[in-house]
Point group: C3
Chain length 594, copies 3
């Protein structure tokens, strides 16, 4: 045997196994996405996000088996537009390309899972299942066929080694369009009376260590993501170099930039920046050198900050985890970067047009040819994705409905979609982040308040009040302590209402309301849950200048949803108060209590 034959045999076997190890690492990225998205959102939706990340892989497997794999890698048809679907996996198992199937399945699942992040905390679960299936069955396989299945972009010389374009940009576009069609989470933007947005609110993630773990998982997985298709040790080594340098530089640049711009280095943004660097280096990882990777990373580190800002302040698309900034914007950047930085000093370099002429990046002497091809590939893929995902979401919106109801969203999708009281059972959760624009879409039956009868109102919100003449000796001093016990979900509305009334201070405690109640009809692992312990909020305010009746009315209105148990109000007389410093008495002393 010749040395070349031996080498080929060795390479086939070694990289055959590595290909599968790489696929396992890409599977592992599912865990990274799950942890990352969970950590960056709120605790009340944690179970829902976990479920979505689990199901997109599982549902994706079903649809990829049935349709996607054929569309992707089946025999080229329609002039390079699609592959022909087939059922070889069932009918010709002995001759099936097992490794390739697994490898492409895990890549496909990555595309689908990106979307869940930007649409987190407000999407109906059933709708998620549907669009996730469509992405895995149709949208991804067809555009992937163009680049990786021998389709027209492949024939043209378009280069996307591991998926900045075919996976991340595609996932990111779906994420962007989905989040835009869904609208922002309740409370994300505050509006004035003309509907103009006056303020953007932050909803800090509930578990940043978990999110960070997700980023580390993704980074590890990325060595498989970018490296799995390598065919020589040199090429794999070089891919590891670029895949390490780009995210590291991106993170450092982002740290410095946020430090300068916002005064302090932002943890969650830096975590995003690592991912941004990884996304950007994905397409060019095998064709750029260390310098190229450095520049690509540095730009990615800035782009991610820009992208998050752009969505918050310009497009007003609410993207809880930064999926658009990370995957869409940097997916585009990575795809274009191939046309700028591709260099034949990279080992086993082979970019060539259909005539076999070597293609190089603009900055490495290749002129605009490769860059042009990259733009064409990117636009073609983007257009296909935008159109098909828009149609998908539009149909879902008109049929199943994309968005959970406002009450479901405020209560949290864990309990409303999955009957899970909390993904953190036993922890005291105090999630009162963000002010809500009460007059916008938080209006849970509040308009009904005016229509309700007194009996309805009083049944919903009970009032217990110490009478003014109770002490026999002295009358109402005009000062009252009002204690309100209400549902956690109504806290923001209550606070806003009290603030509007002029109440400037309050003390808030989380308590558990407790009573004998019938099961709530929720099941955990097949066992019905008792609803005997409900997290409530206890708000204490002291008022004097503001008439207590007005406070009561305001509170009742804010809490009213028309159900028994909306809340309770206790009113106490405060007989007399002095401020030790000044000797002021009565309500003068109370003006700024607390």
């Amino acid at each position: 045997m010749s040395i070349e034959q031996v080498k080929e045999l060795i390479g086939g076997e070694v990289f055959g196994v590595w290909f599968l190890i790489g696929a396992a690492l890409v599977f592992w990225m599912q865990a990274g996405f799950a942890m990352c998205e969970t950590g960056f959102t709120r605790a009340k939706n944690a179970g829902n996000i976990i479920m979505k990340n689990l199901m997109d892989f599982c549902i994706g497997t079903v649809t990829f088996v049935l349709l996607g794999f054929g569309l992707f890698l089946g025999e080229d048809a329609l002039f390079g537009l699609i592959g022909l679907p087939n059922f070889d996996i069932f009918t010709n198992y002995a001759g099936f390309d097992w490794s390739n199937f697994v490898f492409n399945l895990v890549f496909c699942a990555t595309t689908a899972t990106i979307v869940s992040g930007s649409m987190a905390e407000r999407t109906r679960f059933i709708s998620y299942c549907v669009y996730s299936a469509v992405i895995s069955a149709v949208i991804y396989p067809i555009e992937a066929h163009w680049t990786w299945g021998g389709g027209f972009l492949a024939q043209m010389g378009f280069h996307d080694f591991a998926g900045s374009n075919c996976i991340h940009m595609v996932g990111g576009i779906c994420a962007f369009i989905g989040a835009a069609m869904l609208g922002p989470r309740i409370g994300k933007y505050e509006k004035d009376k003309n509907g103009k947005i006056t303020k953007v609110n932050a909803f800090p993630g509930h578990n940043l260590p978990l999110a960070a773990l997700g980023v580390f998982i993704l980074w590890l997985g990325w060595y498989g993501f970018n490296g799995a298709a390598a065919t020589t040790v040199e090429q794999l080594g070089a891919i590891f170099v670029t895949t390490t340098i780009a995210p590291a530089i991106a993170t450092v640049v982002c740290m410095i930039f946020t430090w300068i711009k916002y005064g302090k280095p932002d943890v969650s943004m830096c975590l995003n920046a690592s991912l941004a660097g990884l996304v950007a280096i994905t397409a060019p990882c095998d064709v750029v050198d260390a310098l190229g990777a450095t520049i690509i990373g540095a730009v990615a580190g800035l782009l991610v900050v820009f992208g998050v800002w752009f969505n918050d302040y310009v497009t007003r698309v609410d993207d809880p985890v930064g999926a658009v900034a990370v995957h869409m914007i940097n997916g585009i950047w990575g795809t274009i970067a191939v046309g700028l930085f591709a260099t034949n000093t990279a080992p086993t370099y082979s970019l060539a047009d259909k005539n076999g002429a070597e293609l190089l990046g603009l900055f490495y002497g290749g002129g605009f040819k490769l860059l042009g091809i990259q733009f064409i590939g990117m636009f073609a893929t983007a257009a296909w994705t935008a159109v098909t995902i828009f149609i998908t979401f539009y149909i879902i919106k008109k049929t199943l409905g994309l968005r959970a109801s406002a009450e479901e969203e405020i209560t949290g999708l864990d309990i409303t979609e999955h009957g899970l009281p909390s993904a953190y059972s036993g922890f005291a959760i105090n999630d009162m982040s963000g002010m809500m624009e009460v007059n916008e879409n938080t209006n849970l039956g509040e308009s009904e308040y005016d229509k309700a009868s007194d009996i309805q109102k009083d049944t919903a919100v009970k009032v217990v009040k110490e009478t003014n003449i109770v002490q026999g000796v002295f009358a109402d001093t005009g000062m009252h302590k009002v204690v309100v016990i209400a549902k956690l979900a109504r806290f923001d509305a209550l606070k806003k209402a009290l603030n509007d009334l002029g109440v400037t201070g309050m003390t808030v405690t989380q308590v558990m309301g407790c009573g004998i109640q019938k099961g709530a009809g929720e099941y955990y692992r097949g066992v019905e849950l008792d609803a005997t312990l409900l997290p409530k909020i206890k708000v204490e305010v002291i008022v004097s200048a503001i008439p207590v009746e007005k406070v009561i009315e305001t509170v009742k209105k804010a809490l009213y949803t028309g159900h028994i148990g909306d809340g309770k109000i206790f009113v106490y007389n405060v007989s007399k108060v002095v401020k030790v410093r000044t000797g002021e008495e009565d309500y003068e002393a109370l003006q700024d209590v607390e």
Copy 2:
């Protein structure tokens, strides 16, 4: 050199390294089990479960070195029943089979770790160490020898590629018998006066994102678990296909089934279903095709739901994490499935009886022969496991005791077994899940209450009471606010007692009781812990029709354990109350306060 020789050299080297990578992935599954079991149980036992999962591997290593490895892979003796123990690892290190040792050690540890889940939250730690050692030293090695060490099942043609039978079913049987002998966690089942179970309670896991991470870790590790012993790239690719399809299908089927059955798709059950699919495909992963894997997975997805229900409602065995449903039931299913679906379209298929005649599954034209062998192997292994583990548990029960005391269980095993106040120091933990059957085994010295002297009672539970004649002007109105400060662990008993008395509402707050106390004698990393901050529960109730003395007596009884600091009771006069709606006064108005 001939091409075959070269290929053999290559294969030896490539799969030699892959074999060890696979072993590392199987080691990684220890982390998966640890996270999964921790997440599915309650916060107060998190440190204990972590510790158990860490120690079963470490103790298992010791016993596997000393005894297990020899029994497993030593020279076949006693007609294929055991291997002969030896100390080659110490005496003949240069000639030792290092890779095989590591590989089999991590598989062995998997078997042992399965058990900790079903027995979680109530097993003594010392007893855990003992039975875990016995499994690694004797129970697993001997039955594994039968199938994988050249024992009598191997000679018969029994097939269990990666351990549905030898590992998962064995671990699952130990889990089932252990949980059964241990009895359910306090509060899991409510009984009526005749001891008949009237209600099953759910104890939701305290950290589902962590549990989900555990499932993802396990799934990743499973590619090593099922794939490590592959010898060709084709075989490995096919194993990856079946190992992906089965759990994905299982999860989808489980999601749909729970959605239909319980009204909502159950998150934690779907996480279990992924594992169920993986367990079921473990034995047949190398001998079935995609269709077989699909059916195996679909059945697994149903079996896991059935198994959890069956334990909750039929056997009444309390299995906190679903280990029995996942590992025992699906381990059996996977073992049998080989006999149903084995097909020679799988690459490098080689199932044959001792005469070399090819064996095929029932549905693939092989008749009942292979199926029969699978049943024999499964029953033989199951019988061995059931008998030996029963003896092990029985001896432990009679000597060390299997179960922690009721007080330890309610307080949590972290502090009682490891001196760890909380695995989540600094978080407010509010774990009041589940009603307890007060008259069953929660009776912590309560029967002693009646025997105690008044001084003993009052020392244990202090009462502070505003006198009725305090205001000089008016007398007792008959309405009282009773505030109770008690240990967290007594909350359920207290609530039950008050409910039984007719108190229908209460407000509960978690507070920290605080005072100068001597160290509690607990050590954290060698440093004695201050016990100055104790989590307590503050319960407020307002009563009028119910005599306050009765309330006090009830509370005292519920809180009494005979120690100073059992609780404190404050009684306040409520002078007068009106309901604003109706004008009702006094206790009529109070009937449904809160």
Copy 3:
């Protein structure tokens, strides 16, 4: 081709890929360190620790590219003291040794990341970035050159296969010196008036499951760490054996030892012990047999307990995660262990002096020669490290400052360094661990209290008081309930002050103070955060013998920092109290209330 040539080709390819897989596993250890350090410290610093672990890798990449890699593996110069820096990575990319670069980068990053643990919870972030860069750029590369880059220790026959010496001891020494120069965390040690330490306090980690996950991640990564440089399957198998046995034994020994010494098996110490065993086996993993690994592990399991105790009680260096005990002490032990246990029964054994004479361990017939070389190598490396890191920290201390201010430390580094209100947004955090020595460095402007005017004092801490003559009928009973609402960070000072005054009991609740306030100038992902919800602590005490004015004065002093909003005090009359048991009235009854 000869069989040797074929084998060489195979080995090159197989171990070329494995080398990179190993590097990926070592990268993964970054996640392990991050989770481990986060879990073992307090919630208020979780984001900061995450950030540090992310940035040391990213900054390390930058400096290793620019300087470190050349110093490490550049052409040997100055008689084996350094390598010559070069920019081949940019200037000669086609001929660059990609794999080696990645491999050494991830090892370098490990060294840097060890330090963050011991210096956690009190180091300025900017200072961290600087010293982390110095370690990666200079300190590590130069000493690593001595052993692994062909430097003078390599030439001498010094053996450190994977870095007990060059990585763990070096990181551990930096950790020790850094923690020593930084001083202990506030509250770690209590002193009497002469400054003598009277008590060591434990700060339990806030998330042990996460820490345990970190340990599992590290253990998994260690198979790559120790195994990556293997060149035959046999050697790799043997490395896996020793790398498994040593930590398992260490953990078992530690469990037994803590069980005996502290009465209960300590979870967090056992987690440390696993790491200690791994560190100790790192240098000798390829040259010892199973017995050697067992002894090395057993000693490591004891050393880690000793090391933690030694720092707590002898050196008084506060090391929150045990980095010194794990990495420094066991790094030294592992390095020396080579000289004790090296045996040529290990596969592909090749330890030899510069003349090619085989070197063996003391206990395996090699005399003191190898042991002597190991000591020389260890001391040389330790001396270099100690001197250079001391200079580094010294310069930082004199310029940027090493330590965060006391207020920043008490408040937590998340908010003060990164503007992150909490890494666990929405969770109720109740972190009141540890008493603080109020007269030491917790004195946040308290000395200013005496200088402040009455108006300044009253503005800072408001007092609201029910007048004594309020009821018209009866006068001050002399009994008062004092309710204090204060910042969480002041709780310890407050408690200490009240205790000193003679107040023996209190009830503490976490509440949220709430009002309309301007943004705090903190940004989360570029969005300004509302500071409307501030975690506060509500402390309730009842006093009678102690004059209420004294209590007020004490509280004001304890809370005073000179800012508006330091706290509020409410004083209520308690008209009369009886103890039901004794009939005692008034303040006699109150002596031991709560």
